[in-house]
């Protein structure tokens, strides 16, 4: 089975994000970046499928030069090769524009399966995988925790709301968006890191793929969120803050 995993590099989880001077995005210069969490689960699912059924895992990412590092990490975890789409205007493309770009690269590979994380930790749109399926003309299933290969195609476990699940059968080729938590993530081994240096990374550019980048939806302004409640902050030492909270729980919330 030939599997393409579309991955995204996002700011590290605990990074202190600041709005940039234009108010259109975040200040990226002093940020650390990492592999988007649900994409890490998509990669893990792909690697496990390959271990069971053979085949090839190709990681695909688009973005500025810095994404090379995240691609290397995916190769070190066990992906066989990679496709790196150089694209400096990823942030101004809308979800359809990004999906078109990825789809243009995927078409050249004719994979059996395309996996991607459920949503990104930066924009959180949760749409790229589903739109990819539409652009590629493939069936899809989203919020997938487990993938099983069958004679007819795939049998996948989909998460529903409030603790419910569902099995879905679908033919291949197909696109799946992977939910976190379905597998245990692996770490790159020393050997893996060494091997990654010699693995093939196909370099493409957004310009040569020629995907339509006209946006119909634009992120116009980035602001600090509005507070929904006026929070009373309890300061002082841990002991003082704890004592102040106990007072509140006793006399105002009345649960003690």
């Amino acid at each position: 089975m030939k599997i393409i995993v579309a991955i995204k590099q996002v700011p590290e989880r605990d990074a202190q994000v600041r709005i940039d001077s234009a108010g259109k995005w975040i200040e990226e210069s002093d940020l650390q970046f990492a592999l988007n969490e649900s994409d890490a689960y998509a990669l893990e699912e792909a690697l496990q499928l390959k271990e069971k059924h053979g085949g090839e895992v190709v990681v695909l990412s688009a973005g500025p030069e810095r994404i090379g590092q995240t691609i290397r990490e995916a190769l070190a975890k066990g992906a066989d090769r990679a496709i790196n789409i150089a694209c400096d205007d990823l942030n101004t493309r809308d979800a359809l524009g990004v999906a078109r770009l990825l789809a243009a690269a995927i078409k050249t590979e004719s994979p059996d399966l395309v996996l991607t994380g459920l949503q990104s930790e930066d924009l959180g749109l949760g749409q790229t995988g589903v739109i990819l399926a539409e652009v590629l003309g493939l069936p899809h299933a989203s919020l997938i925790l487990h993938v099983e290969k069958t004679d007819a195609g795939l049998n996948v476990k989909r998460e529903l709301e409030e603790g419910w699940f569902q099995q879905i059968e679908l033919p291949t080729p197909a696109v799946l968006t992977i939910q976190s938590g379905g597998n245990k993530l692996r770490y790159a081994t020393l050997m893996g890191i060494k091997k990654a240096k010699t693995k093939e990374v196909r370099q493409l550019t957004a310009a040569e793929l020629g995907a339509d980048a006209t946006a119909v939806v634009v992120l116009d302004r980035v602001t600090l969120p509005q507070k929904q409640k006026s929070t009373q902050m309890l300061g002082g030492s841990p002991k003082e803050a704890a004592a102040a909270l106990v007072e509140k729980l006793k006399f105002e919330v009345r649960v003690l």
């Binding site: 409030e162 245990k184 409640k229």
Partner: protein
């Protein structure tokens, strides 16, 4: 005249609150544009639901009916709604941001060369659609610049349903029959099932202590368990804790877990991503302990302590034990 369609979702023959919130959002858009709101219900047998919706102050209810729409599939819903939208040509389509909508609406919009503005929390003049960025640390204002239909999905709890009830006379009900061939539906969905036997009912708990990523290691969990015990509270968690297998899934609060509304929700080391907040923001009192003063959990908290949970939690456990004596 501009026209707004609101897609109402049914689950097991019932309409969930989030769909009425989508109707409220549709009415908010309609008020800006002087437009009429029509509600859409998709299925194989929607008569009773359509009658219920018709009493909620919409101009029209459209039943998108077909035997192949009895069970949800992305292919079926996308095809049916594409045909409806091409026939109705609405200016805006509003949907509830449910798992089902997330599964088909991005494809539906893309098929019409449009992009869904997903998980919207507010609608301003323009219209400008606000949604969260960076796991709730920032907000983004989005605008639709295309000439076609604008697609928007709204987050649970973001729009008030009060006022949606007020329908004077029942709305007109129409039937729209899409053309769908069984071969066009490529996926075969099975029946929904419960993950594990639910032995913990967080939904009826009065006091909840909930733990998140800030706890760092499974070995540190007794710290929070002690606090829960001292308080007589149920222990709950955010998704990453259950993903790691540190606590069973049935203790998970959030969109994929349980929805809770206790008297007290004490969040320890939880940053407050949307998926978690939708499951607990109805709590009467929310207390947050987090090392990051900018963590979005503080936006919904009544009381907050910024500090190292490994110092604050033991101190709090002791203080509660002392107060209980």
């Amino acid at each position: 005249m501009s026209r707004i369609l609101v897609v109402v979702e049914q689950r097991e023959g019932r309409i969930a609150r989030i769909s009425w919130e989508a109707v409220a959002a549709g009415k908010r858009l309609a008020a800006q544009a002087g437009a009429a709101v029509s509600a859409v219900i998709v299925g194989a047998n929607t008569e009773a639901l359509a009658t219920e919706i018709a009493a909620h102050g919409v101009a029209k209810v459209i039943r998108v009916e077909h035997p192949l729409l009895g069970r949800y599939t992305a292919d079926g819903f996308t095809l049916a709604l594409q045909q409806l939208i091409e026939s109705e040509r609405p200016t805006q389509v509003v949907l509830p941001h449910t798992y089902q909508v997330r599964d088909y609406a991005p494809a539906l919009a893309a098929r019409l060369n449009e992009v869904l503005i997903s998980d919207v929390v507010a609608i301003g003049d323009g219209p400008v659609f606000t949604r969260q960025l960076m796991q709730g640390r920032l907000s983004g204002n989005y605008q639709h610049t295309g000439a076609g239909t604008c697609f928007v999905s709204v987050q649970a709890g973001a729009f008030r349903v009060e006022g949606v009830e007020a329908g004077t006379s029942p709305a007109l009900i129409e039937i729209f029959t899409p053309t769908i061939d069984a071969a066009q539906i490529r996926t075969k969905p099975g029946d929904p099932f419960r993950g594990s036997s639910q032995t913990v009912d967080l939904g009826s708990a009065q006091l909840i202590v909930s733990v998140g990523r800030g706890i760092k290691e499974a070995e540190n969990l007794p710290l929070v368990q002690d606090l829960a015990t001292a308080l007589g509270a149920e222990l709950a968690a955010s998704r990453p804790i259950c993903d790691n297998g540190w606590l069973p899934m049935e203790r998970q609060v959030g969109s994929s877990g349980q929805t809770v509304a206790p008297k007290l929700y004490l969040a320890v080391g939880i940053s407050g991503a949307i998926q978690h907040l939708v499951g607990m923001k109805g709590s009467q009192c929310i207390v947050a302990i987090n090392k990051d003063p900018d963590a979005p959990i503080f936006e919904v908290a009544d009381y907050g302590i910024v500090g190292d949970l490994f110092e604050v939690v033991p101190a709090l456990t002791e203080a509660i034990k002392a107060a209980r004596q």
